[in-house]
Symmetry: C2
Subunit: 340 residues, 2 copies
Amino acid sequence: MKREQVTIKDIAIELGVSISTVSRALSNNPLVKPETREAIQKLAKEMNYHPNFTALSLRQRKTRTIGLLIPQVVHEFFAQVIRGIEDVAYKQGYNVLISTSNESYDREARNAEELLNGRIDGLLACITKETSSIDHFEEYVSREVPLVFFDCVPDDILSDKIVIDDMDAGFKATEHLIKQGCTRIAFIGGPKALNTNQERLLGFENALKAYGLPVDKKMILHGTSGKYEEGLELSRALFSGDIIPNGVFAATDMLGIGAIKNVKEAGLQVPTDVAVIGFSNWEIGAIYEPGLSTIDQRGYELGKIATNRLLDRIHSDHQLPVTTKVIKTTLIQRGSTSRL
Amino acid sequence: MKREQVTIKDIAIELGVSISTVSRALSNNPLVKPETREAIQKLAKEMNYHPNFTALSLRQRKTRTIGLLIPQVVHEFFAQVIRGIEDVAYKQGYNVLISTSNESYDREARNAEELLNGRIDGLLACITKETSSIDHFEEYVSREVPLVFFDCVPDDILSDKIVIDDMDAGFKATEHLIKQGCTRIAFIGGPKALNTNQERLLGFENALKAYGLPVDKKMILHGTSGKYEEGLELSRALFSGDIIPNGVFAATDMLGIGAIKNVKEAGLQVPTDVAVIGFSNWEIGAIYEPGLSTIDQRGYELGKIATNRLLDRIHSDHQLPVTTKVIKTTLIQRGSTSRL
DNA sequence: TTGAAAGCGCTACCAG
DNA sequence: CTGGTAGCGCTTTCAA
């Protein structure tokens, strides 16, 4: 049915030489006589020869493909990460095989196992919100298949990790609110169990303590999705309590925007009555009114760094020591916290 | 260095049987004696055997991988498309190899050629804004490698295409503005050469004509990026002209939001003075104030339909007729056009 | 019911 | 400088 791909055998027959010679000629092996080589290369071009990728992979035991395992794609942060990965991978002639778990632990585990069959040279992974057991990654470690985690990483695994300094970022965000004169600051975050979320909260609490402000558990609320609607709800709960906050640190931009919306609906002014800072630096925050102050999560850099690390590991002929790289974030101030 | 993957040969040696028997046992071939089969399967599990993907691909001449060639990932529409593709692909046991062209024609061409080496079973592609020549896709057609275009598709190629009905959508959007009482309606769009953009403009003009409104070339402006900042600029140009529009059809949501922002800054009210409708139904439009009316571009469905079509083609043992599927869009009305 | 052997497309070794 | 051959891991015919 389908016209088959041209193989070196076809070229060899056509020219009456051996396959070995064709193979050598095509890889510019100097042992081949120049005329022979040119004739072969010319014919190869004419016949539209492309080396068969699968055969090459099998032979050389490498696929020039890296796997990417993430919870979702419809997410500005992951999209940025993918762009970083693609940019580095493309330059080095690698392809990216994408596998989304849809925030499902089972799908993540299944995908991770399936990719462990020699089809990728290494894996970049970000675990889901609900991932607790990491058995499905242990075999990468024991088989020494290059594996680099980024952003949401498991604690107990001997593997490279690239993360942003969530605690430091949480501290900076909270400190910023304090310096803008906020005295009653609330935290609204994503899933309680998520390690990035925990770190941001820790930074929040540390900042309050550092500046002598009380840490009030009633001012700390957790959601599940980290989305806009949840921001609205959590904010409603917050502003119907005993103590009305005058500052809110939201662990995601969408929560932050939901919070602002609620505050405005409650007849309060942002930032005068309540200052709000988000987290991630999504495009929407710059466009929303007022502009949302936020922490830049640097997805693009994260993707690039993780990929470079993975490729280093892939190309290294000896075991590299396992490292955890922590990336510092930057604070972006916009209208939602500009009180002074 | 790395601990090798377990192969059927290892199992065969361990059990003192031939590799053929192991192969058969693992594929549940009924010819194998039950006890032998069970012993083999048990050992395979114990040894953590995973069939080598590359060897399988080479042998069976299929990779269970589909290629995806898109201009960018940091784009809500493409993210939705990818989600649709992944969902269908995952269910059918296919993996997705992603290749972004970064809106560069050269990179698109290079990627397309590189993927034509037997590493994918078929390709899903959306061409870039600047793609004119499509030589790099012709070989897919001549070699009968399954190829399905979606969204931005080339005109002159004998290949499946899945597109949304941009002209109809443009008509609907404009008609909606007219029915809301707009009489001087402007169009702001992306690159003039982009076929989706042209279709939307055509629908716009048709609607004006159908309702007896004049088509004024001064009220039609094109940009290059389709982004927020461009919306601001185009809108500024529009509102500093002789005729002040009371309705704007923006060919992307970001252009629409830029336009709204500019209108507000100019001291006019949305939707009372100027009604604005966008295109794509990005999340930001629902959150922005006022909410942006828009056309739902149905990226998720587009991705699903395109993938199903591609897989049909991959699985079919005879040449399927080439089809173009046109998907109807739906209008979503929000505050930015609710004048009545 | 099992084994031997060919072959998918390619590279690399060993002879000549 | 060139050809023959083995082998990457697997399936599948053909023989036994």
